[in-house]
Symmetry: C2
Subunit: 317 residues, 2 copies
DNA sequence: TTGAAAGCGCTAACAA
DNA sequence: TTGTTAGCGCTTTCAA
């Protein structure tokens, strides 16, 4: 019984008798044999490995990772995860994936400048997810964030709001786009003079801080669109504590449609990103590049969807 | 210039002239050379790779992963991450790590039965984190969850509470221990008759559901200890909406000291787990096993710490 | 200080 | 259907 024959059986490749298969499988089982992925990859030049860089603190990245696993499974790729943590920077995370011989990289909301990302893309396909990046070597899969904020503002204006503020995400990926969408929508409704952008961020604390600033305004806005759900949660909390009723006194719209937003007790009106489509497209885009399939659009922009829940209503009289 | 010489330079091993080093490094730089981790590991029998299974949805696991990266770094190990997602079960996550030839496995709050974990531990070291598991082959690093709940109950009793309920974590890792700690503490204070355990869970929704049941009680408790912070958040929300003031009408204690709890606006009294110590010990325990250092205690139980914030006070008169 | 040669566990081409 | 052989990119003797 040669190693080659065993290899055939283990890989479930054609060219072995039923009897051989049985014997090999049984022996493998008894010995607790596990194929060595590394040796396997070393031999066959392809690793069928997609590297994924994600932020370990981001709930939304968690959702994306879940979707990526499923999508990769379907096209026969494996995922190699590399986390960005407070003590482990993005470049470190990327470097470790490159050493592992990933065939392509999928970066979730990367903070690094486009030039750096393009540098990596010179060697292997790079798919940037949930962030804009203009470069001919970079594939991008992202939600149409500007459109998301347009939908939010339209929804509020339809309900009769005029004093609509935006608590932004600062320098976070996607923040600039959302700010732009907000500004454009306000202008389109002739509300230039009511446009008000406050500095927020990714976290509840950022939202809380911004909300306090919001309450100092005179008159305060009757509605506020917030960078993401987490940040919106901080806003909601401050508003409640200030004795304001949501949505009777002030309407709030989040972004992401996270688990938090869906909570019956929070029930936040929000902009949903289509994680399934984003992850499916990100993986198939990577696979296309690796399979040298022709790619027509470098950037795939997925429309978001307004999810109306209980934090938006008509403004107070 | 031979491959062997290049290898020496790249590994920064002794035995190469300064001139050779310079030339190799320069050439490597020009060619964009990256050592192939897989080939390297294939050759040297050791992979210096620690496999980590974590729940991609758990914020607390995120904190642990961050700590593990740091700890692994310090002892010269790399981490291979494998996520558990709604569509990717724990066994799948474990299997992929085993194929990657991780030298040891670190499992964060695994759900699998001890017998299954022990089966893996027969082949390589397994460190179970944040869950109890009694088996001679399994190393365990966990918080003294029972002690955590004792501290919570003691704190409340000291403040004058007697009707103290517990919203548990159902079948989640750690839930049984915390339940036991609660029951023991109540008994020790002679409050057997006031002991009341409600089924909760890991999420805000679980907490909300349990809190509604809590309010149906007559008389309702004056304080409640909750399985974790996320769950406590759901509880707080329901209480607020029911017009109850926390902590004036009812006190609430969470568990984990997550970012959520620290929010100035939530300010939840909670039980902090020492993530730094847990992760450091988990990694060094794995390293000890691999280095065949003698290990005295199979189970390392870390004391938790009560963090008093604004959700606990004396009961209403 | 350098190089030649063997081999880690596997796959792939070819021969038997 | 099975076995032989070569080699993936690296490390590690050992000799030059």
């Amino acid at each position: 019984m040669s190693v080659a024959l065993v290899s055939i059986v283990i890989r479930d490749a054609p060219g072995a008798s039923a009897e051989s298969r049985r014997r090999v499988l049984q022996a493998a089982d008894e010995l607790g044999y596990r194929p060595d992925t590394r040796a396997r990859l070393l031999r066959s030049s392809r690793s069928r490995l997609l590297g994924v860089v994600f932020g370990v603190q981001h709930a939304f990245h968690g959702d994306l990772v879940s979707g990526l696993y499923t999508a990769a499974d379907e096209v026969g790729y494996e995922l190699a995860l590399s986390a960005v943590t407070p003590g482990r920077h993005e470049r470190r995370a990327v470097a470790s994936l490159l050493q592992d011989r990933c065939e392509a990289l999928i970066l979730l909301g990367p903070h690094a400048p486009t030039s750096y990302l393009a540098g990596i893309a010179a060697h292997q396909p790079v798919v940037v997810v949930a962030r804009a990046a203009r470069h001919r070597d970079l594939d991008v899969v992202r939600t149409d964030d500007a459109e998301g904020l347009r939908q939010a503002v339209d929804h509020l204006v339809t309900r009769g709001h005029r004093r609509i503020a935006h608590i932004d995400g600062g320098r976070a990926p996607g923040a600039a786009e959302r700010r732009r969408g907000y500004r454009e929508a306000m202008r389109r409704h002739g509300l230039d003079t009511e446009t008000r952008v406050l500095t927020g961020g990714l976290t509840e604390d950022d939202g809380a801080t911004a909300a306090r600033a919001l309450l100092d305004a005179n008159p305060p806005p009757t509605a506020v669109t917030v960078f993401n759900d987490r940040c919106a949660l901080g806003v909601l909390d401050v508003l409640h504590r200030a004795g304001l009723s949501v949505p009777d006194d002030i309407s709030v719209i989040g972004y992401d449609d996270s688990r938090l937003a869906r909570l019956s007790t929070i029930n936040l009106t929000t902009i949903a990103q289509d994680t399934e489509q984003i992850t499916t497209l990100a993986v198939s885009r990577a696979a296309d590049r690796l399979g040298h399939s022709p790619v027509t659009q470098r950037e795939l922009v997925i429309p978001p969807r307004l999810v109306v829940r209980a934090t938006t209503a008509a403004p107070p009289p």
